[in-house]
């Protein structure tokens, strides 16, 4: 009971209506024993950071299939830094062209995941990033 739960915010920033991937990932993380806050579609980067603060999450997972990731993700990082939330680990999934991945990692994204990613890999990486150890 007193085992510390990993808290994750799964958010869909921007005007992108593709929510299947976000829901699949949210459920997989839930089934791995995590507490997943799901906020629905059309979140601004400000909303994402604010929810992450109020909910004191360990991880933010951004699902972006619209192509707007290079605008949205850096903005989320800016606000997180301004709020003193640098400790939050950020994951990004969706349709992200290969050439954008290094730039996202550079600003601090822990991992980027495209179509066909196995949810088991996502779970392992989230655990690793938070607890520092792979799945037991």
């Amino acid at each position: 009971m007193s085992e510390r739960k990993i808290r994750v915010l799964v958010a869909k920033p921007g005007l992108d209506g593709h929510d299947r991937g976000a829901k699949v990932v949210a459920r997989a993380l839930r089934d791995a024993g995590m507490e997943v806050i799901y906020t629905g579609l059309r979140q601004t980067p400000e909303m994402v950071a604010e929810v992450a603060l109020q909910e004191d999450v360990d991880v933010i997972g951004l699902s972006i299939l619209s192509g707007a990731h290079m605008a949205l993700v850096p903005r989320v990082f800016e606000i997180l830094a301004a709020n003193g939330q640098e400790h939050v680990k950020v994951f990004v999934g969706g349709i992200i062209p290969d050439e954008d991945v290094p730039r996202l990692m550079e600003i601090g994204v822990v991992g980027v995941y495209g179509p066909g990613t196995l949810t088991g890999d996502i779970i392992d990486d989230v655990r690793q990033a938070v607890v520092g150890a792979p799945a037991a």
């Binding site: 009971m1 007193s2 739960k5 603060l53």
Partner: protein, 340 residues
């Protein structure tokens, strides 16, 4: 600056941290709550319960929005929301989705929303919900809206925690009478028929009204030394003038219809609690029951530490072999184990 000072100064990051420490049962969190506790007791605690999907979160969104943007002449209030969702009994994980309906509140520094998983608790709240509410109370939030798990059992826990409990019903949940749980009259201070834009509102409302009228004029649940009971109004010494009859109100949470009446009923109920002295009684009952639960929990864990597992198993085996009765087994174990 200590965490308590930061919370009292309204620092949101500090508040979020403290809530996590408490939720995770960290000693530092309890220490800080101890420092904050003298500042509690100010907020109006409003519970929102009802079957899954009746519109609890949508209603909380509207209520908070109203309190933040009141019509001219009404005061603006600081609002906290605690929304509880179920944990999976198999994995312990949870999807906390109530915020999907609360996006109108985003960006307002006078609102703080926190989602919680029930973490194995069955009464519609999480084990630490009442402590989290105390943090918000101390931090100066004036109205705290508490959304329960839409579990469908008698949600006694919320009635014990909140000053004012809203029970939300909606038409179209199948057989109307079936959908309305018998325990509701005992916990509802206000009955809300939400989704009043849907067909069948009249039926739902009629079913509630006839239950209200048929129902014994029992008063709400109280807690005596850990036992929950409801007091019969006739045996209570208070006179009939002080009887609160739960109003039945229609709302359309998605549009905001019916909100002014609901807000007024919530304020009227608080006034009723204050003029009858019941607010004080409820606070007393709640704190006493919290104290007793803590003592029970502590006694059990202290006792577990005193009795070695091997001795426990030994007595358990004797019990199963029917060499002693459960009472005898308990007596031996309570006295320190077999050789004591």
């Amino acid at each position: 600056m200590s965490l308590a000072t930061s919370v009292l100064a309204g620092e949101r990051l500090a508040m979020a941290r403290l809530l996590s420490q408490i939720e995770n049962d960290e000693p530092g969190g309890w220490e800080t709550l101890g420092e904050l506790f003298p500042h509690t007791g100010q907020a109006h605690l409003v519970g929102v319960t009802g079957a899954p999907g009746t519109g609890k979160s949508s209603l909380v969104n509207r209520l908070a929005h109203y309190y933040r943007n009141p019509p001219a002449g009404e005061p603006q209030r600081k609002i906290a929301v605690v929304a509880v969702d179920p944990s999976s009994p198999f994995t312990g994980g949870a999807i906390l989705g109530d915020r999907v309906r609360m996006r109108d509140l985003s960006g307002d520094p006078g609102v703080f929303i926190r989602s919680m998983a029930a973490r194995g608790s069955l009464g519609g709240l999480a084990p630490t919900t009442s402590s989290m509410v105390q943090v918000f109370d101390a931090a100066g939030f004036e109205i705290i809206l508490i959304e329960t798990v839409g579990a469908g059992q008698a949600e006694v826990d919320i009635a014990r925690l909140a000053h004012t409990t809203l029970v939300v019903e909606a038409p179209g949940l199948g057989d109307e009478i079936q959908a309305i749980k018998a325990g509701i009259l005992e916990i509802a201070d206000i009955l809300v028929v939400n989704k009043a834009d849907r067909p069948g509102v009249e039926n739902t409302e009629r079913a509630l009204r006839s239950m209200l009228e048929l129902g014994h004029p029992t008063r709400r649940v109280v807690n005596h030394h850990g036992v929950v009971e409801s007091i019969d109004i006739n045996s209570a010494e208070k006179d009939f003038e002080s009887l609160w009859i739960p109003p039945i109100l229609r709302t359309v949470a998605t549009k905001g219809d019916g909100l002014p009446d609901l807000v007024r009923a919530i304020a009227d109920h608080l006034e009723h609690l204050e003029t009858t002295g019941e607010r004080h009684d409820r606070d007393r009952t709640r704190l006493q029951s919290e104290l007793e639960q803590l003592i029970q929990g502590n006694l059990v864990s202290r006792w577990r530490k005193e009795v070695p597992d091997s001795k426990y198993q030994e007595i358990l085996e004797s019990l199963i072999a029917r060499q002693m009765s459960p009472h005898q087994a308990a007596e031996i174990l309570m006295n320190g184990g077999p050789t004591a």
